[in-house]
């Protein structure tokens, strides 16, 4: 089981500058726990103390916003791609 995770510039201080890291987990929550072991502090930037996604962080599994597919309990499969992005104002 391997999940590829794309890290935004703003969080790469936790991944030794790496843009792409890989992790494991049956759910997004498990993936973040797994990633945190190797990338100290990453989870705390993405998940609040109350156990929700940070308001200004968006996470996508294969381009689907996880808030619509179960949030941190969203299921993962081998080969999935996870993308973390800060929430920014789009074009207008």
């Amino acid at each position: 089981m391997s999940i590829e995770v794309r890290i935004p510039t703003i969080l790469r201080q936790h991944t030794k500058g790496e843009k792409l890291v890989s992790g494991e987990g049956e759910t997004l929550a498990e993936l973040f726990d797994h990633l945190d072991a190797a990338n100290n502090g990453l989870k705390a930037r993405v998940v609040t103390e109350e156990g929700a996604l940070h308001r200004f962080v968006n996470v996508y599994i294969n381009d689907e916003d996880v808030r619509f597919i179960g949030g941190l309990e969203a299921k993962l499969s081998d080969g999935d791609q996870v993308t973390i992005l800060p929430a920014v104002a789009g074009g207008m």
């Binding site: 935004p8 510039t9 703003i10 930037r45 940070h54 308001r55 200004f56 962080v57 968006n58 996508y60 381009d63 689907e64 916003d65 808030r67 619509f68 993308t83 992005l85 800060p86 929430a87 920014v88 104002a89 789009g90 074009g91 207008m92």
Partner: protein
């Protein structure tokens, strides 16, 4: 009747056209609502007209007043046109990484442009506009990200038109920027056509646009309510560009890049419906035509070059 008192009266009532070649089958059909048919060529004419009307009704705008607005282009162009017609001034705060045509059009309509830094994209434009507004209390900031008139333009205009022209609608797909199109149309369809799926296609830009100094500088538009959406799909620059070209070559539709993202999401939904044996009538919101993006090479360069050129741009 195609006779109007003045240009501002031509906003809205845009055509809905079928996309027979891109639709997977007669049971799963894609439709495009062509907002490029509005007077300045984008869906934002609806928004500009409604926000200005609301500000006038609230007594905020008087003849000669100055409007201030953060915009990556389309809203500013729409506001500039109506401002010119009605005798207001416009100061548009725009990220420096937007297309040349948008700047030229704003200037042509008489707007003054103030640039915000490329890094941080529209976030930086919003922040700069807020700082300027604090210094100039006499200026009127319409604030499309928080202005209920923005969503109302779609609730009262875009959505009823859609349902009138496509009563069998099963899905509505639009780009996510201020979120107002999805909020306004989504709420109307939930009330009048329960069961319709509301799907956001969110442009995924190059890294520069997400270049915040810290996460607390992040931004979620005040208008956004995730309960109105069923699904939110992120679409990268290359997919958006590829689809923009596909709808041009297959259907003869010359559209802007945000429509490429919307089409990419719409085709995924169409594929899923066809595979599951369901019928579907999927309405795609075409926010603008391709005219303002010609200088980016989006339609003419080798695909990889065009993707590279758009990488750091706020292309939707």
């Amino acid at each position: 009747m195609a006779r109007f008192d003045d240009i501002t009266a031509t906003v809205g009532d845009t055509p809905l056209v079928g996309l027979p070649r891109l639709s997977p089958s007669p049971e799963v059909r894609l439709w495009a609502k062509l907002e490029g048919a509005n007077p300045t060529g984008s869906v934002k004419d609806r928004v500009a007209a409604k926000m200005i009307e609301a500000a006038e009704a609230d007594g905020l705008l008087h003849p000669g007043a100055t409007i201030l607005e953060p915009t990556s282009g389309n809203t500013g162009i729409g506001v500039a046109m109506i401002a010119r017609r009605k005798g207001y001034k416009l100061v548009a705060v725009m990220p420096e990484n937007t297309s040349l045509e948008r700047r030229q059009l704003l200037s042509a309509f008489g707007a003054e442009i103030v640039f915000s830094p490329a890094a941080g994209g529209s976030n930086a434009a919003v922040a700069k506009a807020r700082a300027m507004a604090a210094e100039r209390p006499d200026w009127v900031m319409l604030n499309q990200y928080a202005n209920p008139a923005n969503a109302a333009a779609h609730y009262e205009g875009t959505a009823p038109e859609l349902l009138r022209d496509l009563p069998e609608i099963t899905h509505f797909v639009a780009g996510l920027g201020t979120t107002a199109t999805l909020m306004g149309v989504g709420r109307y369809l939930r009330e009048h056509a329960p069961g319709v799926q509301i799907v956001a296609a969110e442009p995924r830009y190059g890294e520069l646009v997400y270049g915040l100094r810290n996460l607390d500088e992040g931004f979620v538009p005040e208008l956004y309510d995730e309960k109105v959406l069923d699904r939110r799909l992120s679409v990268g620059t290359e997919d958006a560009l590829r689809r923009t070209r596909e709808v041009l070559s297959e259907e003869g539709l010359f559209v802007g890049l945000s429509t490429g993202a919307v089409l990419h999401a719409g085709l995924q939904i169409a594929k899923e419906a066809a595979k599951a044996g369901r019928t579907a009538d999927i309405a795609l919101l075409v926010a603008d035509g391709g005219w303002k993006y010609l200088s980016t090479g989006a339609y003419s360069d080798v695909l990889d070059d065009a993707v590279g050129a758009l990488d750091g741009q706020v292309w939707a």
